[in-house]
Each structure stands twice: as structure tokens, then as C-alpha cells.
């Protein structure tokens, strides 16, 4: 791990990130000065509802300009280096050994025309320059690590021949294949059945602990956050409302919105609690704050 930053310095630092959809005289802000830090070996949850901008942050961290939106201010420092304006070539060099991605949809994230083995081996050959036999052997090892049964057979299979849970395992194997220092996990268990979700979460956690990687864990599910994340950032309307240790956020949330989200989460062990939707007044207040922020900061770019 040469060149890794010292332990106290964050491996990833999102600073005052602004992102907007601009065009045809309209300027629609998506991220309004979002900031977060992830320490080495930290699993950092990014929670929010749809439209909060959490997926956009994930994309920006991966150096992707999320079309049609554009980064209009701020920076994303990965190991001290700004990744917001990388060329395609620089970005590709960063992927693999620097960063990995566990995508949301295991159905569409594998190429249906290629065998599983070839898809894992391609990543290894591209980023680590392995030759064909070495990549094949390492692919087998990786499938073993993600607890795929009969990995030899799976290597020869096509994506449509294996289950959704197994596909997500393959994608986890690909994400960790080049031993990246940071993984962006974008709602990695949302599409899975709950029993499979538990296994996949356990697998991600185990691989993360074993490799010492950091994870930016994007999710809408506070339950998942409570089980797997060390720290959490709560996002709404592209603004960070609060950030802190998971226990503190879940047990003693400071922001009304975090409290409201927890109250809106159903739980089978407390049937007496009636679910309380996020109060309209709160949503209205947050929207007003967001618009006030826009007014105060003008349009970036």
C-alpha cells in the first residue's frame, strides 16, 4: 500500500460539491454544497430519499460527470487528488486499483454476451496487467472468496444462467478484484430478496474488513445503515443535514429530518408504533431552506 495517506487523513474528501442540471435557461441544482469525509477502512453510509442527490455524489466520486448534470463547484479529493475533472484516460487509470463500484442492479451490470469468468478476468488484465492464465486463476480465487458454490462451473456460465444473488456476488468479486482502496456501493442490496440481502451485506463487510478498503455505502434503508456503516451522512435536497457516528445518528439524531426518517421506518418488533410520515411542514421547511441556499449562492458556473 505505497502512497496511501496516513491513517488520520481521509481517503476521500468531498468538499462543498455543487452539481446542477443546466440548459435552456434553466438551472436546477441537485447538490448544494455537499461535504463528507471518509477515513481509511471506514464504511460510510450516505442516506437519503430519491432526489436527495446521493447517487450523484457516488457518480462524482467515481469521476463520472453525471450527464445531463454538471459539477459547478467544489471538489472530490481521493487521496488528496481532485477527481472531478479527470480525462477519461486518467479516470480509467484510477478505477480498479484505486476505486471499485458495486452497482445497484445485478441484472444489467454484467454483459449478457460474455461468460462470468471472462468478465472478471478482463478487469484483472486491464488494471493489473495479468496474463490470461493468471487472471483465470485469480478469478476462481475471487469467486471462492465471495462464497460462490461450484465456482469452476460459474466461471463458464453466462449472467442469465445464475441467480440475482449470485450475480451480485460476482459484481462484489469484480469490485474487490484489484484490491481498491475505496468502493462505491450504490444501493447494492435494493434489488435483492431480504434473505439474500443479509448474506450479501455480510459478504461486503467481510471483504471490506479483509482488504481494509473504505466504502461509500449509498442507500435509502436506515436498517442497512445501522447494521453495516461506521459513520453516516444524511442528505436531503442535495444538502448534508447531519453526519456522525452511526450510533449517534440512529439513537440520538440531531436533525428533525433524521428523526422523521427513523419514525417513518416500519419495524416488525414494534407493531404499536404507528408510522409517522415525514411531516409536510418539515419537508416544506427543508425545501424553503434549499431555495434560500440557491438564492444566497447564486448559480454556480
Amino acid at each position: 500500500m505505497t502512497g496511501a495517506p496516513p491513517r488520520d487523513r481521509p481517503i476521500l474528501s468531498v468538499r462543498d460539491l455543487h452539481l446542477a442540471i443546466a440548459g435552456r435557461g434553466r438551472h436546477t441544482p441537485i447538490l448544494r454544497g455537499a461535504s463528507l469525509d471518509i477515513a481509511p477502512s471506514e464504511v460510510h453510509g450516505l442516506v437519503g430519499e430519491s432526489g436527495a442527490g446521493k447517487t450523484m455524489i457516488g457518480k462524482a466520486v467515481l469521476g463520472i460527470q453525471p450527464s445531463p448534470a454538471r459539477i459547478s463547484g467544489g471538489s472530490v479529493l481521493f487521496e488528496g487528488r481532485d477527481v472531478t475533472h479527470l480525462s477519461e484516460r486518467e479516470r480509467r487509470a484510477l478505477m480498479g486499483r484505486g476505486m471499485g463500484l458495486i452497482p445497484q442492479d445485478p441484472m444489467t451490470s454484467l454483459n449478457p454476451a460474455h461468460r462470468i469468468g471472462a468478465q472478471i478476468a478482463d478487469v484483472l488484465r486491464l488494471h493489473l496487467g495479468m496474463d490470461r492464465p493468471a487472471a483465470g486463476a485469480r478469478a476462481l480465487e475471487l469467486l471462492n472468496e465471495v462464497h460462490v458454490r461450484a465456482p469452476e462451473r460459474v466461471l463458464r456460465q453466462y449472467p442469465h444462467e445464475i441467480s440475482g444473488g449470485m450475480r451480485q456476488r460476482v459484481l462484489i468479486a469484480i469490485a474487490f478484484a484489484c484490491r481498491p482502496r475505496l468502493i462505491v456501493a450504490d444501493e447494492p442490496t435494493t434489488a435483492l430478496d431480504v434473505t439474500v440481502q443479509r448474506q450479501v451485506l455480510a459478504l461486503i463487510k467481510r471483504m471490506q474488513a479483509q482488504e481494509g478498503a473504505s466504502i461509500l455505502f449509498v442507500t435509502h434503508d436506515l436498517g442497512v445503515v445501522a447494521k453495516i456503516c461506521d459513520r453516516v451522512t444524511v442528505l436531503h435536497g442535495g444538502r448534508v443535514l447531519e453526519t456522525g457516528e452511526t450510533r449517534r445518528i440512529v439513537e440520538a439524531p440531531e436533525h428533525d429530518y433524521t428523526r422523521a426518517l427513523i419514525a417513518a421506518t416500519p419495524r416488525h418488533d414494534r407493531p404499536g408504533d404507528l408510522l409517522r410520515p415525514v411531516p409536510e411542514a418539515l419537508t416544506a421547511r427543508l425545501n424553503a431552506e434549499a431555495l434560500a441556499y440557491d438564492a444566497a449562492h447564486g448559480s454556480h458556473g
Binding site: 430519499e49 430519491s50 462464497h147 460462490v148 458454490r149 461450484a150 462451473r153 441467480s163 440475482g164 444473488g165 449470485m166 456476488r169 430478496d193 431480504v194 434473505t195 439474500v196 440481502q197 443479509r198 448474506q199 451485506l201 455480510a202 459478504l203 463487510k205 467481510r206 435509502h220 434503508d221 436506515l222 436498517g223 442497512v224 445503515v225 445501522a226 447494521k227 453495516i228 452511526t246 450510533r247 440512529v250 439513537e251 422523521a260 426518517l261 427513523i262 417513518a264 421506518t265 416500519p266 419495524r267 416488525h268 418488533d269 407493531p271 408504533d273 404507528l274 408510522l275 409517522r276 410520515p277 415525514v278 419537508t283
Partner: protein
Amino acid sequence: MAESVLLEAAGLRLSLPDYSRKPPFGPAPPVDILHGIDLAIAPGDTLGVVGESGSGKTSLGRTLVRLHRPTAGRLLFDGRDIANLTEERLRPLRAQFQMIFQDPQSSLNPRRRVADIVAQPLHLHGRAATRAEARRQVDALLERVALRPAHGERYPHELSGGERQRIGIARAIALRPRLVVADEIVSGLDMSSQAQILALLRELRRDLGLALLFISHDLSVVRTVCDRVMVMLNGRAVEQGECAAIFASPRHPYTRRLLNAIPLPDVDPGWVARTADNQLGEELSMNVKDSVALVTGANRGVGEAFVRVLLDRGAAKIYAAMRSTDGYEAPDGRVRPLALDVTDHGRIAEAAAECGDVTLLINNAGVNRNRPISDDDALRNARDEMEVNYFGTMEMCRRFGPVLAANGGGAIVNMLSLLSRVNLPMIGTYCGSKAAALSLTQGVRAELAAQGTLTVAVMPGAINTRMGDMNPPPLEDPADVANAALDAVEAGEEDIYPGVMAEGVSQGLAADAKAVEKEFAAYLPG
């Protein structure tokens, strides 16, 4: 409940054509989706239906509102069997049972304005004489679901997911139905939209006296909405009852596993780590339907029950293995008698070569000399028991392991006994052979799992067969035991204790093994 049942299903079965297996010429073969569902909903009642993907819960919902026609079974709505009514006969009744669909995106016609969508059922059933009257009712309905009349002018794609789902609800209640089937109606929504929709649903139930069948993959959501719950797995209801009881003490292992898998929003760093090593891997489980099974000791007792139950659950072929097939009459064309003595190891190897298509091996053959250790022939008895119960099982696993691997993994069911965990006086050698077989089963499990084979150990109490009739009651029905074992195969369970007695003993063993042992020692005859 008999007089106040609104909707009742009995033995409801459904098969649909399976286009993935359609031959180039001729129709697609049917695939069984529902295997005999029984349920009843009283007016104003709420029943939650929970299951994972492929459990058949959505098909069940669609069958209950007769979007599908059941292949067998009764479906009574308000006392009238609607299972086989034609669409024309059904149409006047449809106003009384409505459905809210999972995906409001696809369930609202994208080419119609919201007001037209909501008004359509009103016009169709003559609930609004004039346009103005329809519009007035539409506005009232929109208000009912917390939308403004202005929403009526929009097209579905101009609304948010939560708003669209409200339109789906407004349309479903427009005709004032007595039953609404809600199929995963919050699964695509944010937490706050979800909470709003659930609150709305509760309100509507209270105000309109709706009966609700609420289908969801999420036990937590079901718990907040429903009074009763039904857990589905592979087209069967594995457990059904009052929410309070089922959530407090789930009886079926699958229900337990579902509950345990839900991440509650409580900080629990150990939660992830507690996912046992053997659960990290892909779940092993298989469908009994279309399996090719081999049952040893198939001519009597539990073995015979296995053959019957396998037939009932749609096994493609069953090798009924027994020492001698003389006089055995196969109950069905799918049953192939097979002469196989599990103490004849040469014959086992031959059988493995002959039956190369087996995907489910049921090691049921067992022997109990039923003699105390003081018996003159104790050594020979013990050897006989070990030969069948231990070596027979071992050799079957050894020879059929590669067959199962070649057929994609499959499953092995080893029929053991509660006496592999706890001993009964006077039959110590039998208990010893079963204990050895249990250790064997648990020992080879990981080895077989690596090739994708699930290995299930079944530990029933006394069973109502000739072999078990000298045992203390309660006696289990052999068919129940066979069904429990096959449920375990489908759920991917590893060690099961079917029946009240077995379950009780296994809990007792976990709490205080010595006490159970003492209790069993008291069964000393004479």
C-alpha cells in the same frame, strides 16, 4: 368465521404456460405457480401475504381478483364460487373486489389524464350519470387520497411515484369495493412516501370498512398494516395466523429466517458477523417439483409416504428403492420400482450408474432391532443397525454424490430420528447408529455443499408406522413428516425437527440437555 367470510380460497392451484420451455412446435408446458392455497378473509379484515421473489404471492393476488383463472380449487366471494366464472359473468361482480398494482407507472394508462383514469370505473358501472357528476366524484376521490382536483388534469408521467400510487388507490376505491388486493404497493417508494401511503391505507380501511389483502416482501410493513399474515414459499403457504402470534414465535424455519434477515434500524455491529459462515454462501435449496427423487425403503412407512407426497408435489420421476420389488405396485406411472438393498454396496454402485438423473436422494431405509444391550445377539443387532442406518446412508451419499453434482447439485435428505440427539432406554444400539448417522450427515454437509448439494438431516419423533408404534405418543403422521422434509429442501434448511414432540425436545435439549435425558430415561419399560 363461517358466516362472515367475504373471500375464501380452498385448495387454490394455478399453473401458467412456461414460455421458456416451449418446444418449437406445440404449446408451452404448464408450470405450477400455486400449490393449493387456503385462506379466508372476513369483511374489514386485513391479511398480509409475505414472500420473496418467486413465492407466488403476486400470482395469488391476481388469482384472487380473477386476473388468472385458477387451475383447481374453490374461490368463494361472498359465498359464490367465482373460480370458473366467465369474464362476462364476472364483470358485474368486479366492482366489489379491486386491485392496486405494484407499479403505478405501468398500471395507469400513460395516454389518459388522471381524471379520466379515475372516472372510468364510475362511467362503466353507471355510478355517474353525467360528466359533471363524475367530475364531482373524481374530485372527492382525489381529495380522499390527499391530492388536489388539479392533479386530475395531469398525465400519469407528470406525477411522482407516491402521487401515482395514490391515483391507483383512488381508482381502486372509486366503486366502493368490499375487498382490495394491494400488491407490493409501497415497494418502489421512499420511506416517507411509504409511510404516507400506509397511513392513507389504514385510514381508508377504517372509514370504508374495506377488507384488505396486502401483499409485500417486507414483514415490517405487513406488521404495521395487517392483523393476520400468511408466509409463502414456492407457491405454498408455510405458515398462517395472527400477526401477534407469528411474529412472537414463528413456527416455520423459513418464517424465522425471513424475520432474522430484516435489518432493523438499531445499531448492532455484530449483526453482520452473526451471519454464520455457512450462510455466507449462496442459499442451497431446490424445488421438489420436477425433481427426480430416489427414496430408499419406499415400500412402507415413511418411505411410502414420501413417494405419495413427492407425487403430489409434482416430482418428475421417483425411484422407489426397496430390498425386493416383488409384489410392489407402483401407485403412478412416474414411480419406478428399484431393487436396492442398502447393505449391498456393489448394488448401490450399480444403482448410481442406472439412475443417473437423480436430483433428490432420500435416505429413508432404517432398521431398529429394538433390543436391549443385555440381549444375547446385541453385537449382531448393533452391527445390523450400523450396516443399514450408518454405512447404508454413507454409501448412498458417497455413490450418489457425483450423480447429484452432475445434475446441478440437488439435495440429500437423511431420515434420522430424534434418538440421534437423545437416547431411549433399551435401544441404545439403535440410538448409537442414528447418532453416528447424524454426525456423518453434519460432517459431510460442507463437503457436499461445495458441489452445490444441500444435505438435510430430519429428526422426527415417533411416527405412526409399524416401526414406530411401540413408541410413546404423540405419533406423527408420516405424510406430515415427509412434507416437512421436502419443505426443508425447498427452504434450504439443514437440521429439522418435524412435529410437536420433536420440536419440543429440540428446544428442551437446547435449554437443558440433562433434564431431557432424565425424562427419556423414565420411559424404561416394565
